[in-house]
Amino acid sequence: MDIFANIMIGLDTAISPVNLLYCFIGVFLGTFFGVLPGIGSLAAISMVLPVTFYLEPTTALVMLGGVYYGAEYGGSTASILLNLPGTPSNAVTCIDGYPMAQKGKAGLALFMTTIASYVGGTLGIIALFVLSPIIVAWALVFGPAEYFAIMILGLVAAATVTQDSPAKGLAMVCLGLLLGCTGMDLETGVPRFEYEFIELYEGFSFITIAMGLFGVSEIIFSVKTAVGRTFDQAVTFKSMLPSRDELRRSIAPMLRGAGVGGFFGALPGTGPSIATFVGYAIEKRVSDRPEEFGKGAIEGIMSPESANNAAVQTAFIPTLTLGIPGSASMAVMMGALMIHGISPGPQLMVERPDIFWGVAMSFWIGNIFLLVLNIPLIGFWIRILKVPYHLLYPAVIVLICVGVYSFRTSGFDIAMVLLFGMLGFVLRSLKFEMAPLLIGFILGPMVEENLRRAMLIFRGDFWAMVERPISGTLLFLTLILLLYTTYQIFFPKKKIVAGDSAQ
């Protein structure tokens, strides 16, 4: 467990000129899409994805990672200036960020959230470095039974933990698993649910699903809702600097936020959004002046932003070490790796330490880029916010089309994007969430493979799986989660928004 040796391996890969360049392009594009309201980190990753097919797998992951955390960084800008969250996980930042801007403290809020993001991100990366080898050592002895159990737990958690309607979340996981069945059966080679299309012999292309569900359907919704709001407040460098008192009040919330974020990010199914809510709620509870929250308390932006970016980094832990994506963004990352022929899992760190540690190290370099990119360029990002959405979305539509088409020069794939875009629109209209669907789709083939292998080993005896200590515990946890969820479905609580406990 030589952390420093790992850091050196990682640094060696991460500071190669090519990786540095793509890391920079990644964080720049990420921040750009993150700043724009209505385009989340997921849509941003999906759009950049096709470009990365022409890169080395490591470089591709470095760039996509950059887009992801860049978008989460940039998302706070629109929250603070326009009261519109740039990405869903920045919604909490609106509560205190927008009042700060109205008080003329926009510069300060933007500066301090950048610092909070950097600190949260860095602490998350440290957790990634320390915890990953431990988890990998543990996971190397996993057999098919353990994998099946942990995937089922991940799927159920993704569907139920963050949902207000757990049954609908589970239904989306189910739909994802069913869509994942399309294509050749792994063992017998029989094509399933391919509807006589040769293009579907290898299953639905993961890119078309991600772009359709997250790109196209999201745009259809935001064309109408993104009303042009403008912001006119000069942000000078001097207005960004905090007073000594503001600095003092920021440090503890920032560290607490990183802790909360790191914890929730690493859990399967939770992710940044819930981390920001919990971080905010904690600050409001421990503060000796809770009445200031909602009116521009600096603690109310520091903790959620730090939590957000810590969670973004620790979300890579289960994805890279176990091959279990905890969130939709991580599912896209994993899909990208698999397209490059790399399957994430405990073997990745053992066999390709250069990829694993190189990517992890590049995250930290990317965070430094963001710090230097964001503080001098705040004025630039503000100007981007002034581009009206009705000039922007046609360009995004074309980018999606070109990206998908370039993947294998196929009009069929564009038709699929359209299909999934329409499906996504219908599902979103009915208040379904898309993330569990995508996670189910990505994990589906692996769930099937591991279950079938496990049943062969245990001669069809499901109890043998329950009797093994690790898989048994994981299945037991899943059962508890399911029972709790069923209870919630039949005895729903009055609607409580996670962060508004004190209202």
Partner: protein
Amino acid sequence: MKRSFALSNDMVASFLILAISLFYFIGSHEYDMGSVRHMGPGYLPRAYAIVGLILSVLIFVSSIRKGDRVSLSLDLSYVRAFSMIVIAISAFALIIPVAGLIPAAFVTVVIASLGSNKFHFKTALGLAIIISVLIWLLFSVLLGLPMPGLKGL
């Protein structure tokens, strides 16, 4: 508001899940089930479909229990954005194999722009020219992807 038998979001949602699950349940009979010990290609799809059927019932029951709290939020004001974006993407798929990247991007931008109620003909035209040229420069020239700007002329 209305107490009676109004269609709620969740009720429609449960019908949708029911339909999809039934579709897969029936479809799975085409493939060999196998046994628990030796699962065939049809085993898991059918299992998932059954779970889906159970969930659709759960969603339906809870939608009735929720009663009048949520009504169907079918919003007709999205029709314009929805249809224009669908047409724009279809146009791209149809034009690019025949005429190349620049015309495809141009037409797509113009049609997609029609989806917003802030549509202005000259602005959309200008935008389409700029974007189609930029896209061509970026993808065909700079990245060297096999997509000619103009084809068949």
